[in-house]
């Protein structure tokens, strides 16, 4: 019995913990679990209000090819994240910084696309208060965009930290944890894109 709780010493510079999982990683997983409920509630709201367009526009306003492209870019940013992590785990600092910046850039392109999309919708009468459906669309995708923005800030923090030499190879777990968050935000977008854009109403 003692074996299961004797401190495990992880490779990669982690202090020993009872379960062998680093504290930070466990906290991130817990936080992501919490985020599942957060986005779950937002998506449920959207599904409930699907079809309640009042006199405003409905899903026909979506430009699916455009959003598909920005979705593709966001998904590719996950690949960039993986490559960044792999680079720092192998001690290739330049490559790590390049991929971190590339990931942040792809996230920014996605965000720019979202901002463009929002302004287009507003110009066509789909405002926050137009209908319960538009309210739930903007709040759902807006909160997702906020998560992307926060992720970009963390990526830029990683990049600047690396420039200052504060993230050596032994601390690659910092990158791994940011990566967990980034992939989660991507996966949520897959869900949102499918539910909101691809599944047609009625």
């Amino acid at each position: 019995m003692t074996d299961t709780t004797a401190p495990h010493v992880e490779s990669g510079g982690h202090p020993p913990t009872s379960l062998g999982v680093p504290n930070e990683k466990m906290a991130i997983w817990g936080f992501l679990g919490s985020e599942c409920l957060f986005f779950g509630a937002l998506i449920s709201t959207y599904l409930i209000y699907l079809g309640r367009y009042n006199d405003g526009p409905g899903p026909e306003i979506f430009d699916i090819p455009f959003t598909s492209v920005s979705t593709f870019i966001l998904l590719m940013s996950s690949l960039g994240m993986v490559l960044a992590l792999s680079a720092i785990q192998h001690g290739q600092m330049r490559r790590f910084r390049t991929w971190t910046l590339a990931t942040a850039l792809m996230g920014s392109v996605f965000l720019a696309g979202q901002i463009f999309e929002f302004t287009e919708f507003y110009a066509h009468g789909m405002t926050l208060g137009a209908s319960p459906w538009s309210s739930s669309f903007f709040v759902l995708t807006g909160f997702h965009g906020f998560h992307v923005a926060f992720g970009i800030m963390m990526l830029l923090g990683l990049w600047s930290g690396s420039m200052m030499g504060r993230i050596p190879q032994e601390r690659s777990w910092v990158v791994e944890n940011v990566g967990l968050y980034w992939h989660f935000v991507d996966i949520v977008w897959i869900l949102i894109f499918t539910v909101v854009y691809l599944i047609p109403a009625e």
């Binding site: 019995m1 003692t2 299961t4 709780t5 004797a6 401190p7 202090p15 020993p16 913990t17 009872s18 379960l19 999982v21 680093p22 504290n23 930070e24 466990m26 906290a27 817990g30 936080f31 679990g33 919490s34 985020e35 409920l37 957060f38 509630a41 937002l42 709201t45 409930i48 209000y49 309640r52 009042n54 926050l128 208060g129 137009a130 209908s131 319960p132 538009s134 309210s135 739930s136 903007f138 709040v139 909160f143 800030m153 923090g157 930290g161 200052m164 030499g165 504060r166 050596p168 032994e170 601390r171």
Partner: protein, 647 residues
């Protein structure tokens, strides 16, 4: 050590706080024990404020009254009963639980601190600023007045439909909208505090246990903290979404809950109670945990059915998610939904009943010592059982349709939350006071407190069953004579002032005992768990040597089970995440490194209410306040990340 925490040995731009005494040492502390004490003092202050609000309610309802001769008018009355509930739930009971978690959790599992000491400080400051933010409404628009569950569409009346500044609305509507913003943003901020501490406690319990402390050797209190933390982690985002939606409705003209525009007010009810029912268990499980420590100590028996206790707690944690709509039986969900939730509500009484019988089984045949904490613990078992039984009566839909929104519900919830949570938390205060201060609380005053509170509690809330069944509605600011409610309302008011007297005795006891109480020693109660192996109060690093755990009720086995008394082994557990590796190896001696104090958690927390005030204004002020708050939060977070946890 610095090298491990910061590879280049760089210092942050600003000097680290160094004070070890005085106010700045408290502002910058990351010591879980000090944070626990701050949680306790703050939460107890809010408990007094919430209690005063309750006394105003009871004074007003003591006698039937016409429109004149009232103590407070309907508007103030609405604010007071709303804030009574919000204060007691979010500012008193939850943080009092957090006070116990903070202080005791690392001690109980044999750790030197929580997993994230600065996150812990952050939680406290966010909680404090969130509470002050909520109460600052009294100087602005008036306090929230929609009841603690703040049903839509009442909560969205006065919403700003055009998205322009709230100042352009008619004054009354604007002030109502501002109150709702105080509600949604205040609870949002408090939710962040709870979320951060929930994640922190989960990681601490799972990852920071002393060697040999398997999950099934954890003290039951720790188990209940773990379950509570998971409930918080998953329940808070749901209410968070509801609160954001309310905020967007009220301030930015979205249409989530406005039925005139096709929105669905019932959605708010679902969001609220999907959080609200797990919240009930968030409030009661910590008290269950306290009682599960107190009763075995004073019955001098191991807890009866430890595994059943653990698994019934887990069962409550799961089933708590499947009962929320029993708060909505009167909303017209239809017979299928109502029947399903009626059944699940009856089922959840089973694991709760398991706990009651386990406590009785622990008491059975024990050498019982009726000390003050034991009295409160047994008080919980009795009072909670009454509240639990009246809760089961609510699972019967026709019965609920009769009792909904009457004082019967008020009676039920106070038997559960006051007779349950508060009695349990008082048991914990008396039980662990010697550990925190090194002195015993006066037992005679403690018993006076218990009996006065016990009698006062029952005088206050038992008659509410009767007037509730007679049809007296909740949340009325006055009632007329001749309804048959006069006598019992007077009794209730007398009872409530008896409780106030009891709490005054407690405060007097707290102050005098902390100064002049009998010196306690390490283990005054002949207790069973690890926190009693260290000194009272414990040193900053909790344990000179991390204990090696060989049994459930480790201390008891060391004291009474012959072979369990070999000297503790020096092992590398505890401290913070930055120096979990054996500090003694690096320093060749008793140099245990604890995390250093930090300004940044308090700084980051300070940004939140500032940003929240921004939402209430409009135009340039809004941009400025949101920007300022956001910048402060970011500055705090960046300073936090760039500063090593310990130098």
């Amino acid at each position: 050590m610095t090298a491990a925490a910061d590879p280049l040995g760089r210092r942050s731009i600003f000097a680290r706080p160094r004070a070890e005494t005085g106010i700045w040492s408290w502002v910058t502390t990351v010591d879980h024990k000090r944070i626990g004490i701050m949680y306790f003092l703050t939460a107890f202050t809010f408990f007094i404020v919430g209690g005063i609000e309750a006394l105003i309610i009871r004074a007003q309802l003591a006698r039937p009254a016409g429109p004149e001769g009232l103590i407070v008018g309907p508007d103030v009355y609405n604010q007071i009963f709303t804030m009574h509930a919000l204060t007691m739930i979010f500012l008193a009971l939850m943080p009092l639980g957090a006070a116990f978690f903070n202080y005791l959790l690392p001690l109980m599992i044999g750790a030197r601190d929580v997993a994230f000491p600065r996150l812990n400080a952050f939680s406290y400051w966010v909680y404090l600023f969130g509470g002050l933010f909520l109460y600052s409404s009294v100087f602005a628009s008036g306090m929230p007045d929609g009841g603690w569950f703040n049903y839509a569409p009442l909560s969205t009346v006065g919403a700003d439909p055009t998205g322009t500044a709230a100042g352009s609305l008619a004054a009354a509507e604007a002030s109502h909208a501002a109150r709702m913003l105080f509600y949604s943003l205040g609870l949002q901020i408090l939710g962040i505090a709870s979320l951060a501490s929930a994640a922190n406690f989960i990681v601490t319990i799972l990852n920071m246990r002393a060697p040999g402390m398997t999950l099934m050797r954890l003290p039951i209190f720790t188990w209940m903290v773990l379950i509570t933390s998971f409930l918080l982690l998953f329940a808070l985002p749901v209410i968070g979404v509801g609160l954001w939606q309310l905020m967007f409705d009220v301030r930015f003209g979205s249409q989530f809950f406005n039925p005139a525009a096709g929105g669905d007010p019932i959605l708010w009810q679902h969001m609220f109670w999907l959080f609200g029912h797990p919240e009930v268990y968030i409030l009661i499980l910590p008290a269950f945990g306290v009682v599960s420590e107190v009763i075995p100590t004073f019955a001098r028996k191991p807890l009866f059915g430890y595994a059943a206790m653990v698994f019934s707690g887990i069962a409550i944690g799961f089933m708590g998610w499947g009962v929320w709509a029993h708060h909505m039986f009167a909303a017209g969900l239809g017979p299928v939904a109502n029947s399903a939730f009626a059944l699940s509500t009856m089922f959840i009484a089973v694991p709760t009943g398991v706990k009651i019988f386990n406590w009785l089984g622990t008491l059975w045949g024990g050498h019982i010592r009726f000390t003050t904490p034991m009295l409160f613990a047994v008080g919980l078992v009795a009072m909670f059982t009454i509240g639990g039984l009246s809760g089961v009566t609510h699972s019967i839909v026709p019965h609920t349709l009769q009792q909904t929104d009457t004082y019967y519900v008020v009676a039920h919830l106070h038997y559960v939350l006051f007779g349950g949570s508060i009695f349990g938390l008082f048991a914990g205060m008396y039980y662990w006071f010697p550990k925190v201060t090194g002195r015993m609380m006066n037992d005679r005053l403690g018993k006076a407190h218990f009996w006065l509170q016990f009698v006062g509690f029952n005088l206050t809330f038992a008659p509410m069953h009767i007037v509730g069944l007679q049809g007296m509605p909740r949340r009325i600011y006055r009632y007329q004579a001749g309804m048959g409610w006069d006598f019992w309302n007077m009794v209730e008011t007398i009872g409530s002032f008896t409780i106030a007297l009891a709490v005054l005795i407690f405060i007097a006891n707290l102050i005098t005992s902390s100064r002049r109480g009998e010196v306690a020693g390490n283990d005054p109660w002949d207790a069973r768990t690890l926190e009693w192996t260290t000194t009272s109060p414990p040193p900053v690093h909790n344990f000179d040597e991390i204990p090696d755990v060989t049994a459930r009720d480790e201390l008891w086995h060391r004291k009474y089970a012959g072979p369990g008394t070999e000297p503790p082994v020096r092992v590398p557990a505890g401290g913070s995440q930055d120096h979990g590796e054996d500090a003694a190896e690096h320093h060749g001696g008793p140099g245990i490194h604890m995390p250093d104090p930090s300004y940044y958690p308090a700084l980051a927390a300070l940004g939140m209410p500032i940003a929240a005030y921004g939402v209430m204004t409009g135009g340039a002020a809004m941009v400025a306040l949101l920007g300022l708050g956001g910048l402060i939060i970011l500055a705090g977070l960046f300073g936090w990340v760039l500063e090593p946890s310990a130098e």
